[in-house]
Symmetry: C2
Subunit: 502 residues, 2 copies
């Protein structure tokens, strides 16, 4: 029966016991879809690019009121950036405290790139076909197809999880099922900028955030479409490397094959950082990696293999290294070139030897790798390739003293975090989410992307989990960010399951 249920969503729904909490939640949701969407649309209509402080204050106020309506006590904490909202709702006879983390800021937008209207005017689009309709909320009459999508900045990342969470509270309040946990909420406003204040806020106000478990609700589901529970997330750090040639652009005819060419030198330097099989050749890069446990390996083995379909969708035919599957690579540190910049390439071009050449690298970190130490390994590698590593723009004396000069600048960064799969609370969470999904969920030891997971797992020292509920193909961070409506409904049920865990 189980296999049949997994293969057919409609039957699964019918198969849930009619009097269960989940059935009551689903029934309530089907009766309140417009109200849920209205709350989401109102929230999406508030611009939330974190550099605009006024906008962020308006978001924080709105969220505080939304929480207060659900009987949360909420407080706005100022930071050096956007405010953090902390909230709590005590449950009588609570068996634990459960903390939920969301972020309410969104990535910067370029409205000209958005196809279905401006990014802060959310709309429903009725399908991918050319004749799909684009509807405002007022135009949305009649039944709502779960395959339709809501377009708008933060529709997936990360406002819909907030609205799903609040809808789950509403559904449970309307049902006979009480919350089994005291619930705490953390709403951050600078996640897309790398969470620069979160560590300090957690150190200062940790006692009001701590729980028996903390759910970071963010990011898309695994490409298989299953509800996804992350037990960790990679850390991240960027490094900008600039290689210097002459102190100005030189005419490539007069000085080509005589003056040093920093673009070529940068190419050589980057080429020296990875071997042909994609293994990073920087000394010590993998030294601190903690191997996966048997349980972690097993969790990965249970995940459907999505690589062939991903590769088809992304249009490439060979992985950097096919010796292990994608989800295993996420448990290794990575080094990746994000960008190159030197001279001019497009248009009429300029026949110059550029004065300098720069690359931006991002370095993904896994459990137990220290960002500062990993950065020093990169610097040591640059030195070992024959560069003098400068900590400022080179002056004439430095230029006279060293044939090759590079500058290596670290940009931000934080470490990884990883929670053990063996904790009893982990088993409870997996069971609740699997029951709500009526089938297996994806369990990732480490999310490939980066979240400030460590702040909760290692600074606050709370068993921390990442829950991903939105559709995989949501155009997160780009134009045309969207949410598949069925994922919103699924999220309501996942949240309700967590809130009523025995």
């Amino acid at each position: 029966m189980k296999h049949f249920m997994m293969a057919c969503g409609v039957l699964v729904a019918l198969a849930v016991a009619p009097d269960s909490t989940l059935t009551q939640v689903r029934t309530w949701r089907t009766q309140h879809e417009m109200a849920i969407l209205r709350e989401l649309f109102d929230l999406l209509s508030l611009p939330n690019v974190a550099t605009n402080q006024g906008d962020m204050a308006r978001n924080a106020d709105a969220l505080t009121q939304m929480l207060a309506r659900r009987r949360f006590t909420a407080e706005i904490l100022p930071t050096s950036g956007s405010p953090v909202v902390l909230a709590e709702r005590r449950a009588p006879n609570a068996v634990r405290t459960l903390t939920f983390y969301f972020h309410y800021d969104g990535q910067p937008v370029d409205p000209r790139e958005w196809t279905h209207g401006p990014p802060f005017t959310p709309v429903v689009v009725t399908g991918p076909a050319a004749d799909a309709r684009t509807l405002t909320l007022a135009q949305l009459t009649g039944p709502i197809d779960g395959e339709w999508r809501i377009y708008g900045r933060s529709s997936s990342d990360d406002k819909s999880p907030i609205v799903a969470f609040l809808a789950a509270i509403d559904a449970l309040d309307a049902s006979a099922a009480p919350l089994t946990s005291t619930v705490r909420v953390i709403l951050e406003g600078d996640e897309e900028a790398g969470s620069p204040s979160l560590d300090a806020i957690v150190r200062a106000h940790g006692d009001r955030m701590r729980g028996d478990a903390l759910m970071m609700v963010d990011g898309p589901r695994h490409a298989s479409g299953r509800t996804t529970l992350n037990f960790g997330a990679r850390g991240v750090m960027a490094a900008v490397i600039t290689v210097y040639g002459a102190n100005r652009d030189l005419h490539s005819g007069n000085y080509g094959n005589w003056a040093p060419n920093p673009a070529l030198a940068l190419a050589r330097l980057l080429a020296s950082m990875k071997d042909e099989r994609g293994r990073v050749t920087i000394a010590g890069f993998y030294d601190d990696v903690v191997p996966l446990t048997a349980a972690e390996r097993r969790a990965i083995e249970e995940i459907p293999d999505v690589e062939p379909s991903l590769m088809r969708a992304f249009g490439f035919s060979r992985q950097e290294n096919a010796s292990q599957r994608l989800e295993l690579w996420h448990n290794q540190p990575a080094l990746n070139v994000n960008g190159l910049e030197s001279g001019t390439v497009g248009g009429q071009g300029r026949t110059i030897i550029p004065a300098d050449a720069s690359a931006r690298l991002d370095v993904r970190l896994v459990k137990a790798i220290d960002p500062a130490r990993q950065f020093e390994r990169i610097v040591a590698h640059v030195r070992a390739q024959g560069f003098f590593v400068a900590d400022a723009e080179p002056d004439a004396a430095m230029r006279a003293a060293h044939p090759w000069i590079a500058r290596v600048t670290r940009v931000g960064g934080y470490p990884a975090g990883r929670t053990s799969m063996d904790l009893p609370i982990a088993a409870s969470i997996v069971k609740a989410l699997s029951d709500a999904a009526a089938g297996p969920i994806v369990r990732l030891p480490t999310l490939g992307g980066s979240l400030p997971f460590y702040v909760f797992s290692d600074v606050l020292k709370v068993p921390t989990f990442g829950l991903s509920v939105v559709n995989f193909d949501n155009n997160q961070h780009g134009p045309n960010e969207n949410l598949r409506i069925e994922n919103l409904w699924g999220a309501v049920e996942s949240m309700a399951a967590l809130l009523t865990m025995p």
Copy 2:
């Protein structure tokens, strides 16, 4: 006496026989400096970016009138780009026909980058010091210091040579010295765009351009400051290489160290093109090089060694390869990275695996190297590094069939030209210019930069020479292009010497 004369310009001037043609020219010039500058300023005030056809027509008209005032018959020939002006003035008892080539177009400008006012409002600046005055022509009263500079687009490249040439004609007409040559003039308007029409114009109208020798007057003097005669110029060709990864930018956390990174692949490809000593490793790259003759080698040996001072000025301490001097390298083909472009480097950056990465290379060619053949060698090298070379944007089928795809696009290009140093006319020209300079000139077998030299040397089949008269540090092609006024006066004398060669 000769050495002393070379070391002291003022004494040299006095040392010229008082009744010589050069003395008469110099005397005439000192009496007409303001008139010469007025003609130059008027010409510099006409914008001459070749993409603006109206501007180019105005320049061609003005030049035609300037030539007509000196009794040239002039004609404007339309091309697919800017018009070419052809002119001729017959000399009674001419011993030969001498053709002069100049170009009247200038590089594109960004007025915001110009320090002394807009690029088409020429001014005189009285020195490099902070308290230097910036003067309009009307404000220029009293004696003119030859060290002062004229700022404006094309002040050096290439309008002042035209005005110097016309002033030399005026000076000779005012003297007792007749022109010894029938003089022909070619004024091109698309040189900065790579002379796309020149070859066709020469093939169609060569009979009206041909002479016993052709002087291409363009470019700066050798860094030693001496009058510079080029016997050839390198050819040039650009190649844009794009390496493709996925069909879109991918999240570097989700897909880093799994999806192929085209920025790193491009770095590897570029690194494969040159060895550590700067030698191009592309098979066949040097195959067709014609070695320098003994006379050519001797000419280079006689040039002052400017490398240490150039390296100090340019702020680097080691050449790409120090095994031979700069002027010898100019007789070798070169490959140089002009620019790199991929993803984002600056600002907050984007943590992506970029969809593609591009580099622009320029390839300098020397005598006997065919541009098309050299381009094919580059393509073959890219193939040999494991890339499928596409001739269009890759589609899904191509992406599925090939793990690595690159596109290599040739941009323009023309071959090199080189005239023998052993021709009798070469000896006459060297003597005339050395006499005018009252000292040795620099003779370069091949100019490092590129000029459409081959059009005259190899298509028109006329002994062709490049004459460079403007100051080396003229900011050619950049903002703040300038002319040291003394170089203008020197140019008048060089031209007069050529026009009166026995």
